[in-house]
């Protein structure tokens, strides 16, 4: 059983992400965060359950729905907001935006606009960790859509072949854009995609942060011990559809309600209160504190300047 501190860390992480995404939604609706913004709300248990099982120098590589991973791995909220609204203090000087957030300080190889594009990046970092014997582990986060991208299979093969310390994490939220994953994906269960390479593979409830944490912890231990990769599928749900503005006409209310009833945040808070780890009042206080922190960060970001003309051509080449 996890310590109270760890449990609160999980709770804090999920609530922070949820609050962050709500601010992003507002920013988008206010025209501050234009472009394609994909919210992570609903999937918090996956990012938080995973990143709390990692060391600070373990790598992650994320995808287009990646704010949650950045937060869970420890990026600064104001710099994240700043990037998402195109400000100079953002992680990419506002030049990357939501789908391109890189943070070397947290060993985050980036969110990514190419579906499947970041899978080999994590695998490559794992290759180097193995060659150098650093004990680092790399996590590759990807959506269910990647289950059909060739580069995933190529990466799985090399990871298995060389026993690389990488954990492949598929966040199956049921859809790729507006298409149901089950309509475009053959083979059941999907875990067989990992098993084909003799990689330990399993499916776990992605709405239960404790289950995620436990499953990932085992995989991380395996990786760190030199026993190679794991392929984990977490069933989860994107509350806001594909991107802010998606009317989600393709989803029915029943489905939405089912998943809302499985929301990972109340699930954890109810458990915490029931098991008397903490009082509801204290949680409410924590919620308020987190929300305040997030809003402060958002406001800080909004006050930041936009990049200037010189920034257009900065960093084309590294010195």
């Amino acid at each position: 059983m996890l310590t109270k501190d760890k449990l609160l860390e999980l709770y804090r992480g999920m609530v922070t992400i949820r609050a962050f995404e709500e601010e992003v939604r507002k920013m988008h609706n206010a025209g501050l965060a234009p472009g394609l913004v994909h919210l992570y709300s609903g999937q918090e248990a996956v990012a938080v359950g995973t990143c709390t099982a990692l060391n600070s120098d373990d790598y992650i590589a994320s995808h287009h729905r990646g704010h949650g991973h950045c937060i869970a791995k420890g990026s600064e909220l104001d710099r994240l907001f700043a990037e998402i609204i195109g400000r100079r203090s953002g992680y990419g000087m506002g030049r990357g935006g939501s789908m391109h957030i890189y943070d070397p300080a947290t060993f985050n190889l980036g969110t990514n606009g190419i579906v499947g594009g970041s899978v080999p990046l994590a695998t490559g970092a794992a290759l180097l960790a193995k060659l150098r014997g650093t004990g680092q582990v790399a996590v590759s986060f990807f959506g269910d859509g990647v289950l059909n991208q060739g580069i995933l299979f190529e990466s799985l093969n090399m990871a298995a072949l060389w026993s690389l310390p990488v954990v492949f994490i598929c966040e199956n939220n049921g859809y790729g854009e507006f298409t149901e994953i089950d309509d475009v994906t053959a083979g059941r269960p999907y875990a067989k995609r990992g098993e084909a390479f003799d990689i330990p593979s399993e499916k776990t409830d992605g709405m239960d942060v404790l289950a995620v944490h436990e499953t990932v912890s085992k995989a991380v231990t395996r990786a760190r011990n030199g026993d190679g990769p794991s392929f984990l599928i977490f069933d989860t749900y994107r509350y806001s559809g594909h991107h802010v503005g998606d009317k989600q006409e393709y989803k029915d209310d029943e489905e939405r309600e089912l998943w809302l009833s499985r929301d990972p945040i109340p699930k954890l808070s109810e458990m915490l209160v029931a098991e008397k780890k903490i009082k509801q009042a204290a949680l409410d206080e924590l919620d308020a504190e987190i929300k305040a922190t997030v809003i402060v960060a958002a406001n800080q970001a909004k006050k930041m300047p936009e990049p200037d003309a010189d920034d257009l051509t900065r960093h084309i080449y590294a010195a």
């Binding site: 234009p34 472009g35 394609l36 195109g86 990419g92 000087m93 506002g94 030049r95 990357g96 935006g97 939501s98 789908m99 391109h100 990514n112 606009g113 190419i114 579906v115 499947g116 594009g117 859509g145 990647v146 289950l147 059909n148 991208q149 060739g150 790729g176 854009e177 507006f178 298409t179 309509d183 475009v184 994906t185 393709y250 936009e306 990049p307 003309a309 920034d311 257009l312 051509t313 084309i316």
Partner: protein
């Protein structure tokens, strides 16, 4: 008729004009099928395939997994076997994922088989800058495609052209890349009904002029036209040549224009270095040297990843003021 064009008013957006072309070609030729991500029940992420699934059904409008390389390869195989697939690659940036099947298979099969097989397909893709979509969703790699023997490359600037060129593309027996700048999607104009087919390989002079020729494709044509208005005020009469297709390239029309005007500016929305403005400028320099009163100038996107930042993104789109400035430079200032 597709849902959006039932109006008797034929004032259509470019997006709907292509949709209409697709509808008509699918109706008249059973061999035409549509393949891509979210093109079916969802009707396309920009609603660019709206209604097709309902009309033609799941056998002719096929929603695919996210597997760009193989989807495109399947289309090549289906084309070799006798169909005429339209394949959508959602963003031009993702062409990077189909390059092998496009360049090493589709473009060369007709040649390698000595005419034994054709590869009649249309690869439709959205390009361009302007939606704050960031470095991986804003590229215009048309120069790459025009470099490859065996491919045809079409880039319409107007709704009417888009319809006529798309119909020609579908009927063409070669792999045709049809690139639509998303920023032109809502441009409207009167679009002819039905049998409106524009042969691939014909440029069009969109505005006649006597002093300087401006060459462009798709969105940049409108930038050129706007600049031409400004230049008129300065008593410079600019001719605007819309290349419409990069391959085949209508060299005759290109050269004829500059022979008349003596000055040329080539404009484009793609990265400048080793891009399409280079080819047009070099061609003019080679074939019309004796007619030139000034160096052939180029104006294209700066050689930087297209930034998300709204403040910076617009700086990567050549604008009418810059065109005017370049032309002014050719005159050593117009003061």
């Amino acid at each position: 008729m597709p849902p959006d064009s039932q109006q008797t008013d034929r004032n259509l957006t470019l997006k709907d004009a292509v949709l209409e072309a697709m509808f008509e070609e699918m109706e008249s030729d059973q061999n035409v099928i549509l393949i891509g991500e979210d093109v079916g029940t969802a009707g396309g992420v920009f609603k660019q395939t709206k209604g097709l699934f309902k009309t033609f059904g799941a056998d002719r409008v096929i929603d695919t997994p996210i597997s760009e390389s193989a989807i495109f390869g399947l289309a090549v195989g289906a084309a070799m076997a006798g169909s005429r697939p339209i394949i959508e690659v959602m963003f031009g940036d993702f062409l990077t994922l189909v390059m092998d099947q496009l360049v090493n298979q589709a473009a060369k099969v007709h040649y390698m088989s000595a005419g034994g097989f054709n590869v009649p397909l249309v690869l439709r893709t959205g390009i361009g800058v302007g939606g704050n979509l960031g470095p991986q969703h804003s590229q215009s790699l048309h120069g790459w495609l025009a470099h490859i023997p065996g491919l045809k490359v079409v880039m319409p600037s107007s709704a009417s052209d888009a319809k006529g060129l798309f119909k020609a593309a579908v009927r063409d027996n070669n792999p045709v890349i049809f690139m639509e700048d998303r920023m032109t999607y809502n441009l409207k104009e009167q679009v002819p009904e039905d049998e409106h087919v524009i042969p691939l390989g014909s440029a069009e002079v969109k505005r006649e002029g006597a002093d300087v020729s401006i060459y462009a494709v798709t969105r940049s044509v409108h930038t050129a036209l706007a600049a031409a208005e400004h230049l008129q005020v300065k008593n410079v009469s600019a001719e605007v040549v819309d290349l419409r297709t990069l391959a085949p390239l209508d060299v005759e029309t290109i050269v004829a224009s500059v022979q008349k005007t003596g000055r040329a500016l080539v404009l484009d929305g793609g990265y400048q270095s080793f891009g399409i403005t280079s080819e047009i400028a070099a061609t003019i320099g080679e074939l019309a040297f004796d007619y030139l009163d000034a160096p052939v100038m180029r104006l294209a996107a700066p050689d930087v990843p297209v930034p998300f930042s709204p403040a910076l993104e617009t700086m990567t789109v050549p604008n009418a003021e810059q065109v005017v400035a370049k032309v002014t430079e050719m005159y050593g200032g117009l003061g």
